[in-house]
């Protein structure tokens, strides 16, 4: 598998602030990569560097095998991106805006092909039926969808999306997630930057966690959520269970026990065999939230002073 994004020791300073510090991100073809971090942790700066908008202070970027920013214009046509928030010319319609964005880059395809791909992009994001209303009159969610459509117009190989579900209602979020999953299955690699745990949790299969400009963790989500070697049991007879399991219970909270064990089925048989009534049983996994809390400090938009 080839790497579509690879950064090495990537650093960006704005004056005395280090926005991105020694970051090495690797996104493989086919990944649904979640770049997770609190607001102000350097996510957007990294995205801007990937796209050649902001120049790195030091370190290297390779995008689709080409060095960035030097050769960024060779690879940008295969990339669709949403940076920070969508933008459009407010007094023009969504369609006109898309055709302007589409026509601004290198010209590809005939007139009909260009019109078709704009219609397809609008349809994909659920704006197939928009009329000539100016973007000024759009809701936040519609603007977000339009921004996504602009990213999709050229049928990109790699999508770089910065907070793509901003301003969408729960149904909209679900729709966009399903759209991204569909595109991913069809071969599009997705790089999604977000401060929303749930968004990354439900969409991504690989995650990079950034904290105060540093990449503190990067791994497959499945590996991060591997069983912890414990089983969680909810029982009506907790005292009996504790007595039966003798020392293997690590933690008890009312009717819920955390038991050192690998196989819940075996444990269940043992409990039931001894007459302990089990209401619920399953392996314990770390949640993404737990993973994040384990590797990050306090949110970097807090300004308490003290802890450095």
């Amino acid at each position: 598998m080839t790497d579509l994004i690879r950064t090495t020791a990537l650093t960006k300073r704005f004056g005395s602030t280090v926005a991105v510090n020694d970051v090495g991100v690797t996104v493989r073809e086919g990944d649904r990569y979640g770049f997770l971090g609190p607001n102000g942790s350097g996510k957007t700066t990294l995205v801007r560097m990937l796209l050649g908008l902001v120049y790195p202070t030091s370190g290297e970027i390779e995008l689709l095998g080409q060095p960035v920013p030097r050769r960024v214009r060779d690879v940008l046509p295969s990339i669709g991106a949403l940076v920070e928030s969508p933008a459009a010319i407010p007094h023009l319609s969504g369609r006109t805006n898309l055709s302007i964005v589409d026509a601004a880059g290198p010209r590809t395809g005939g007139r009909r092909d260009r019109r078709d791909r704009i219609e397809e992009a609008l349809r994909l994001v659920g704006l197939g039926g928009i009329d000539g209303r100016p973007v000024r009159a759009y809701s936040l969610g519609m603007r977000q969808r339009l921004g996504l459509a602009a990213a999709l117009v050229r049928r990109p190989r790699l999508l770089i999306l910065d907070e793509p579900t901003n301003g969408l209602d729960p149904r909209g979020i679900l729709e966009i997630r399903q759209l991204l999953l569909t595109l991913n299955r069809a071969g599009t690699t997705v790089f999604l930057s977000s401060h929303l745990l749930s968004e990354v949790d439900e969409l991504c299969d690989r995650v990079g966690i950034v904290d105060q400009g540093r990449l503190v963790l990067q791994d497959d989500l499945a590996a991060l959520r591997a069983p912890t070697g414990r089983v969680v049991v909810d029982t009506q007879d907790p005292a009996d269970a504790v007595a039966l399991l003798d020392g293997r219970v690590e933690f008890r909270d009312g009717a819920t026990l955390v038991v050192r064990a690998d196989d819940p089925a075996e444990l269940n048989a043992k409990l039931v065999g001894a007459g302990v009534r089990v209401r619920e049983i399953g392996v314990q996994r770390r949640t993404l939230e737990q993973v994040v809390l384990d590797v990050t400090g306090h949110g970097s938009d807090r300004m308490d002073g003290g802890v450095a």
């Binding site: 704005f14 801007r48 796209l51 050649g52 908008l53 902001v54 120049y55 960024v72 214009r73 940008l76 046509p77 990339i79 991106a81 940076v83 920070e84 928030s85 969508p86 933008a87 459009a88 010319i89 407010p90 007094h91 023009l92 006109t96 302007i100 964005v101 026509a103 601004a104 880059g105 290198p106 602009a150």
Partner: protein, 276 residues
């Protein structure tokens, strides 16, 4: 990208409003002249105004003289100041750059759009004022019947209609260069700030400073290098023979401003982080 720029230019309501306003000022002046018949004595007021009463076909030149000192530079500064800053403020700049549109290409497209805007405004002013002038004052009898000797040049000799058109084209070209000179200053400032209005006001500050210095004897030394110094030399196209000296100097000065400020805009835009 250039096609896109022109398309958005024509789709911009603000553009048409400024064209309308610029055409309106000479029309208002013409109405006052035609109803009161009080023309400024020769040598006073805007150029050509005193001659307009006799021949409406001179009114386009008079109209240019009316809009050139303030209205036109303000419109150009507003338009050019918004060129990059407006895109940055809307957030469309980053989306253009990742389309991708090269930064150099973007800047060239913006400069061309500015030139087209200026040309468009001038042409609208010329055409509407020709119609207004002709309607209110009539075309000089001689011009109407195609005889030479109808229109009088500033130097007192006569001009044929063809000659007049050629001179008008020359004057329009010269004004275009001067206004693109204004535009390129605004374009540079537009790459520095995300406030289009700030860039426009900055440009006007430069022009006002230049105007003040041109009237100041103590600043005689630097006068030939000031951007506004040769602005009115387009009038020399209407002298017989055409008085080329100041026109040439004006073109050279504007050329230098164009190269310097476009170079500065290019250096700034291509090297800066786009964080808007």
């Amino acid at each position: 990208m250039i096609r896109v720029e022109l398309r958005t230019l024509f789709l911009r309501p603000r553009m048409w409003v400024s064209v309308l306003l610029l055409c309106l000022l000479p029309a208002i002046v013409a109405v006052f002249l035609a109803t009161t018949h009080i023309t400024p004595p020769p040598g006073h007021g805007a150029a050509f105004l005193s001659a307009v009463e006799n021949d409406g076909s001179l009114f386009p030149a008079a109209a240019l003289a009316l809009v050139l000192p303030i209205f036109l530079p303000v419109a150009v500064a507003m338009f050019a100041g918004d060129a990059v800053a407006g895109e940055a403020a809307h957030g469309t700049l980053r989306y253009l750059l990742i389309r991708p549109v090269g930064r150099t290409r973007l800047l060239v497209a913006k400069l061309l759009a500015i030139a087209v805007f200026v040309l468009l405004v001038i042409l609208f002013v010329v055409v509407t004022s020709f119609l207004v002038g002709g309607g209110l004052f009539g075309f000089g009898q001689a011009a109407a019947v195609g005889q030479p000797g109808g229109v009088t040049s500033l130097s007192g000799t006569t001009l044929t209609p063809l000659d007049l058109v050629a001179r008008l084209v020359g004057a329009i070209g010269y004004i275009l260069v001067c206004m693109v000179g204004v535009g390129v200053i605004a374009l540079f400032l537009s790459t520095v700030t995300v406030s289009g209005l700030g860039a426009a006001l900055g440009t006007l500050a430069v022009l006002i400073t230049s105007e003040v210095l041109t009237t100041l004897d103590a600043a005689n030394r630097i006068k030939p290098y000031l951007p506004t110094n040769y602005w009115l030399s387009w009038i020399d196209f209407f002298r017989a023979p055409i008085f080329w000296v100041n026109i040439d100097k004006g073109l050279i000065v504007q050329g230098v401003y164009l190269v310097v400020f476009f170079g500065a805009a290019w250096a700034n835009l291509t090297s800066k982080d786009v964080t808007s």
